[in-house]
């Protein structure tokens, strides 16, 4: 079995990580109903789940024999999940956005599960170059930021709807709309920069590697995502796009991005 393919023990630990995160989300929901005693167990489960995922990434890397990141589906998706999870835990420690973990941790779980599922599929073979590494870091780093923007966008929509329908009792467990909009905008800004860098590097990689043929679908999807986030970034110029529309666009962009990442797994990229 090639070392890039995850072993059964690694997948088992990954499954444990997913379970820990899932239970942590459940405790977080119960905690939001006033049971503060669940705060510590909830945090421990999140940290434990992420720690297990980090252990798996580390083990996988050691087994592969070299430290170049993002070389396989498994380490890419699991690393993305870990980065997203750790970033959110850091954000919640520094300046919490109430309810953010309910939206982001399921994404982290999904990434870990996808890593387990797609980790055993045949890899796309390519020679890693500076362009490819920068491309992957930019694209996947942008994906993490867009995932956060998608989460806060969804929270904004939900909270906004309840406030307008007046079904939300004061003292909601979500952060304020202003804070959610701010985090969405920051995440989109960061993600847009990384995506632009990643797309440019991918283009340069394409020019340098004559054996590589990029499927048109991937180019189009990437272009659409780029345009969506460019629109979001320009909401200060076009203020009628702020608030709910920005949130909807950030969710749409995130869904498209996920579709692109998944589609890439099944679309050949060589002659």
């Amino acid at each position: 079995m090639p070392p890039e393919i995850p072993t059964l023990p690694q997948l088992s630990i990954l499954a444990l990580a997913v379970v820990a995160l899932g239970i942590g989300i459940v405790l977080s929901v119960f905690r939001s109903r006033g049971n503060e005693k669940l705060r510590v167990p909830m945090k421990m489960l999140y940290y434990w789940g992420l720690s297990l995922a980090i252990v798996v990434v580390f083990w996988h890397t050691v087994r592969r024999g070299h430290w170049t990141p993002l070389e396989s589906n498994f380490d890419t998706l699991v690393s993305l999940g870990v980065i997203l999870g750790v970033f959110v835990m850091y954000l919640q420690k520094r300046r919490p956005v109430a309810g953010l973990d309910w939206f982001v941790m399921p994404m982290v779980m999904m990434l870990l599960l996808l890593g387990g599922v797609f980790g055993r599929t045949k890899l796309h073979a390519y020679l890693p170059t500076a362009w490819s590494v920068l491309h992957l870091v930019g694209v996947f780093g942008g994906a993490v930021a867009f995932a956060l923007a998608g989460a806060t966008g969804a929270m904004y929509l939900l909270s906004n709807q309840r406030l307008r329908n007046k079904t939300a009792l004061p003292g909601s467990k979500f952060a304020s709309l202003e804070r959610l909009e701010h985090v969405t905008y920051l995440s989109v800004t960061l993600g847009f920069g990384l995506l632009t860098l990643g797309a440019l590097m991918g283009f340069l990689w394409l020019l340098r590697d004559e054996t590589k043929v990029l499927p048109p679908g991937k180019i189009i999807l990437t272009g659409v995502i780029w345009v969506i986030y460019a629109i979001i970034l320009h909401t200060p110029i076009n203020p009628s796009f702020r608030g709910r529309k920005t949130a909807m666009l950030s969710i749409a962009g995130f869904i498209l991005m996920i579709a692109t990442v998944v589609a890439v797994q099944f679309v050949p990229s060589g002659k």
Partner: protein, 435 residues
Amino acid sequence: MQRLLLLGLNHTTAPLDVREKLAFDASSQKHALESMRGQFPQCEFVILSTCNRVEFYAAREVHGSPRTDELLNAVALLQDVPAEVVKPHLYEKTDREAVTHLFHVASSLDSMVLGETQILGQVRDAYDAAAALGSTGVMLNPLFQRAIAVGKQVLRDTALGEGRLSIASVAVDYVRQIFDHFKDKTVLSVGAGEMAQLVLQHFAELKPGRLLVANRTKSRAEALAQQFGGAAVDFHSLADHVAAADIVITSTGASEPIITRSLMETALKARRFKPIVMLDIALPRDVEALVSEFQAVYLYNIDDLQKVVQQTQTQRKSAIDAATCIVLEHVDDFVASLRARELGPAIERLYAHHHHLAQEELHRTLNKLGHLKEDEKAHVEELARRIINKILHDPIKTLRAADSTHGLSAQYLHALEKLFKLDDRNINHEARKDE
């Protein structure tokens, strides 16, 4: 052996004018505690005086002073009010009932507004003031410390303290769900009446960047604005001020809406569609209902806010049972600990005293029975020990099982101490004379 006494009146037993006569401020409370300690030096006192109740907690010896009338007279004298005026409104509780009452008070179960959190701080302040004067001791220290802990637990573990019960605080909560920070926000009050003042009081605590007041009568606008460090603005330029404001509170007495859909549309364009919260607490409404169609406008009228208040009241009422359970658990535990604290040493002294008597008689008898072997002496000693234990078994069992709700435990213990002379000064085995 101590007894706990509570004497007090509250909003359900006394009208405001009677409560006012008996109420204490910080300095009169200090003076009262010092005076009562001077009059009854062996006792502990705490005075709890709030706008809705005045209560005196005292711990004294069983059959000691002050009794209820003595306490009432002392207080009436201090407050210069005839005792007959307050007496009909007073309630008196002792021991377990007093403990239960205090725990209910600290948990806001006895408050005019169920679940209000202010009372816990007031109980703490009353205890701190008394403790600082050395007016508390072995009874009132653990009692009030436990009461404060019970209050905290009830508010933490039940829904009793959740939600808001005033329209103004509900409005602030809604605004906090929309805006994250307020230093860069402008609050505009259209109207300068009593409701506006009440709501602005809450919003001023958010420390907004600007606070504006618009009213048809400029002088009233200026007076209200000055109260909160804001500025009065021209009522006739309302459209401009609404465009500049992030939070608009309307409470005029206008018969027609003063903020229409078209005014709002213009204001939103000028604001570049930044969100705006409109709190329309007027009746008839000051803001046209169609204004809520704008995505950037969050409009709440008096009904919306009142609905939340009613939901909170219902929620709190449903939490009463859970809160009462917590209180009663703590009452049982506290009373049991008090009993153990008093019974334990008394029972030990009883056993020690009687075994000492048995030893004295045993020693005298064994001297006369000098021919006894060691094992025979051991049997005789064992006999004496078993006789004492059997004699004391039933009284001790009854004492432990006494129903403390009716204070029988305290009475039995007091009788035991008197009948068997268990006061410490009487336990002097070296000086005991043969009867």
